[in-house]
Every structure is written in C-alpha cells, then in structure tokens.
Symmetry: C2
C-alpha cells in the first residue's frame, strides 16, 4: 500500500503562510512527521503562490528533500511549476497529475517522459468530470494506452477515478467503488489512487467517512492513497486493512507499527 502525504499543500492556511514567509522549519517539520508516520511519498503543492509558483515549487522541493529521503509528488495545475519542481527533484518523482484533456496531455506527457516520473492520471478528458463507471473506463483506456505507448511502465501509472461528494448523490460512493474494482480488473498491472476528502465534502464528521472510504477502496483493489498520515486512526485502519487483504506476511508490519506506537485502537 502506498501512502502519499497530503499535508504540504498551500490550500491549507498555515502552509500557505509558511510558504509565503519561506519558513523552512515549518515545512520541514511537516515533511519529517509525515515520513515518520508512514508516507512513502510526500505531495508538495504551492498553488496559491500566484505569479511565482515556478520559483516557489523549486524552493519547496529543495526544502523538503533537505530533510527526508522519500520522493515527492509534484502537484500543480501549472506545467511550468511541474517542470521546475521536477528539475529540482532528486530521485524518481511522482507527477500530480496528467489527464486526457488535450492541452494537459500535451503539456504533461513530455515531463513524464523526460523525468521518468511516476504519474497520477485523472480519469477525465475534455468532456469534463466522469459521469459513470463506463465513462471512467473509457477515459482510463485513453490514458493507459497513451502512457504505455509513450514508454511509461504500467507500474509507474496511478489511475485516479475521481471521487465525487456523497452528499450530492447517495450513489456516488457505490459508483466510485465499482470504478475501482473495474479498473483493477481491466488493468491489473496499473495502480489506482485517490484523495479521500472529496467524498465527505459537506457532510459532518468527515474523517469517519474518509476512513471508511479508504478501507472500502482498498477492499476493491485500490493500492495508493493521498491522505493525512498524521490521522493515527486512518493509518491504523490502513495497516489493519492491508494485513486483512493478505498483503502483510505474518502481519509483521502491522505488529511492528503497533509495537512502535504508530497505530492505536
């Protein structure tokens, strides 16, 4: 199971402020804590640094890689910011994200190839957000075949089915879970990933929904999550569900995490 730590994102106020002040200590602390909690990749997003995102992304990558050994997920709607982040990055980065939209595809594919990066591929094209399981499969087909044709190994591709808020439609959870299972069946060699928080948008006690949804996605075959690794309940459930899914021989990782106090019931 792959955990991408989501906390260094300038949509969070304290992070935006730390970035604005070039407060390395704050950012580095957040990086260290996420890696220690089990994040194997750390997402970096500075989308609020309007007009200077390219420069700030390189600073952010340098700042984080100074203190942690894990690779980063360079996260931006701007292809230029992705490029400066990737240029600054040491080791194999992850790109967040490519889509099947013509313009985005044309901008991001060359970066995936140049940097031999892992890539999150959102199941959307110029038709907008997917409306059904079939819609996601149709777009996933474009993404996977296009990426593989460009020489990207299946193992570096992370399909994101795009999760919509359950509060808007009571069947959106089912639609998402069926999409996860369908993607897994059709592309067993390709990974799938999602962020957890969209599903609970507008509903109370959101972390409960995020946690349950993570376990449900994992049960249907999802193997990577963009999440808050400092949510100890969430990480405990992730490690428990990984073991229950038969992916932790003799429960050794689960037991070690419990002994180290990293998970708690």
């Amino acid at each position: 199971m792959l955990v991408v730590g989501e906390l260094i994102n300038s949509s969070r106020k304290a992070v935006a402020q730390a970035i604005a002040n070039r407060n390395k200590a704050y950012i580095q602390d957040l990086a260290r804590k996420q890696a220690a909690a089990g994040a194997a990749i750390i997402d970096v997003n500075c989308g609020t640094s309007i007009g200077e995102e390219e420069k700030v992304m390189a600073w952010l990558v340098d700042t984080v890689q100074e203190v942690v050994d894990v690779p980063l997920c360079i996260d931006s709607p701007s292809a230029e910011a992705l490029a400066t982040g990737l240029a600054a990055h040491k080791g194999q980065a992850m790109i967040n994200s490519i889509t099947a939209e013509k313009e985005r595809w044309a901008e991001v594919l060359p970066l995936v190839k140049e940097y031999k990066a892992k890539v999150i591929a959102l199941c959307m094209d110029d038709g907008g957000m997917p409306e059904s399981v079939a819609d996601r499969l149709r777009v996933a087909d474009k993404l996977v075949s296009g990426l593989v044709a460009a020489g990207v190994p299946a193992d570096d591709i992370y399909l994101d089915p795009l999760i919509k808020p359950l509060g808007v439609n009571s069947q959106y959870g089912v639609e998402a879970l069926e999409s996860v299972a369908a993607l897994k069946e059709k592309y067993p060699e390709v990974h799938s990933i999602c962020g957890l928080s969209n599903v609970s948008y507008g509903l109370p006690e959101r972390r409960l929904l995020n946690r349950a949804f993570m376990v449900m996605c994992l049960t249907r075959g999802m193997d990577a999550f963009i999440l808050d690794p400092l949510d100890i309940q969430l990480m405990g459930l992730l490690r428990a569900a990984t073991a229950l899914a038969g992916q932790d021989e003799f429960c050794l990782e689960y037991i070690a995490a419990a002994r180290a106090g990293k998970i708690k019931a």
Copy 2:
C-alpha cells in the same frame, strides 16, 4: 445494516458476575446502552451458568426485555437453554446458532420452526471448521436448502462464514472476504453475519483490525454484524460505510447520528 449487540455474554467477567448475583440493574443498563447506541438486536449468552443455564437464560431474557424494545438473540450451545430462552421471549427472536452438524441441526431446527425465529447458520458440518471458500459454499448450500425446505423465509437466515484468526494465517482475511462475496452472489436473498473479534485473536490493537474487517466485510456484501455497539469508532465507521455503500438515502441516518453525537471522528 443490522447490528447485534454482543456485550451481554457471560464470557465477559463482569457479566458472569452480574448473572451469578442476579444483578438486574447491571444487565439492564448494558441492554439500554446497547440499544441506544444502535443495536437492533441484543445477544444474550449465559454459557458459564453451568448446570442452570436453562433457568438463567429465561431470567436473562425477562430481565432484558423489561427495559428494551428490541428483540434478543438467544445464544447458547445448549438446545435446552435456547428453548427456555425462546419460550420466555416476546416477539420474533434470533437463534445463535444452527449448524449443519447432524446433532445440532436435529436439535435446533424444531426450535427455529416452532418460534418462527431468525437464525444464525454457521458454515460448519460434522467435518469441522471450513477450510476454504468452496467448503463454506458447500455447507451453506446444505444450510440454506434445508432451512428453506423447512419453511424458513430466506430473509430470516443469517449465514456466518466463520472467521479464523489472521494471526494464524495471513490469507484468512482474504478467504473470509471472498467467502462473503461468494455467499452474497449465490444467495442474494439470504443475509450474512459474523462476529468481529476472532479475526484479530492474538494480534495487538485488536479493535483496529475488528473495525477494518467490519468495513471490508460490509464492502463485500455482509449486512449484519455481532459487535460491541459501545465502540463509538466502530459504530461511526459502520454508519459511514453504510452510507458509502449507497444504503442511506441522502445520508439522512448518518447525518442524524452525527447531530445526536452518536458518532464522532
């Protein structure tokens, strides 16, 4: 989603003592709390009352039904104790449990019929504990066809696939989940149920495993659980997962539970 509250069980020391002392207040408090937390059925087990289980079961049923409106699940290895419990019970009870073992089947089936009870049917026969998904399906077939032939409505049957400890074999979780999915596919009209605690036997932070396993079973189609309804994290995940599984129109029950403070992230 059906919750059977498991706390009134004499394998728990405090309950055994309360039963021995005929401490109605303690038992009734446990009944009230479980019903308030969302148990739709309350399990009653007095297996430690050796030599007087029949008498004690009737007392236990009376004691609990004095204070809660929900039906009870009469839980005993003794057919005689099941009989006295069922005779004392008002409304439609649940029986825990019948199996495909010749002797148990012969003793319990008449009670299921006489009291038109719901029944938990364990997927085991005289060959012992099931060793595979196929084994469970084979035994489930005997159970379902036998019960239906005896006039028991499918809606009153709760198949228990029998959960074995993950600590013993890292694939027991997968085997259990595949069994749940296979039973659901083969018998869509029949319910499935399990207790949660066996899966985590011998492992640390057991409640984490129990919670994750509940969500995973629910995801594969299980619709009833014997659990501790006073575990607020567990009940929150159950309500969240029920909503995410598309079984809570407009998330009304989830939202109501959150507003009432019954669930908390």
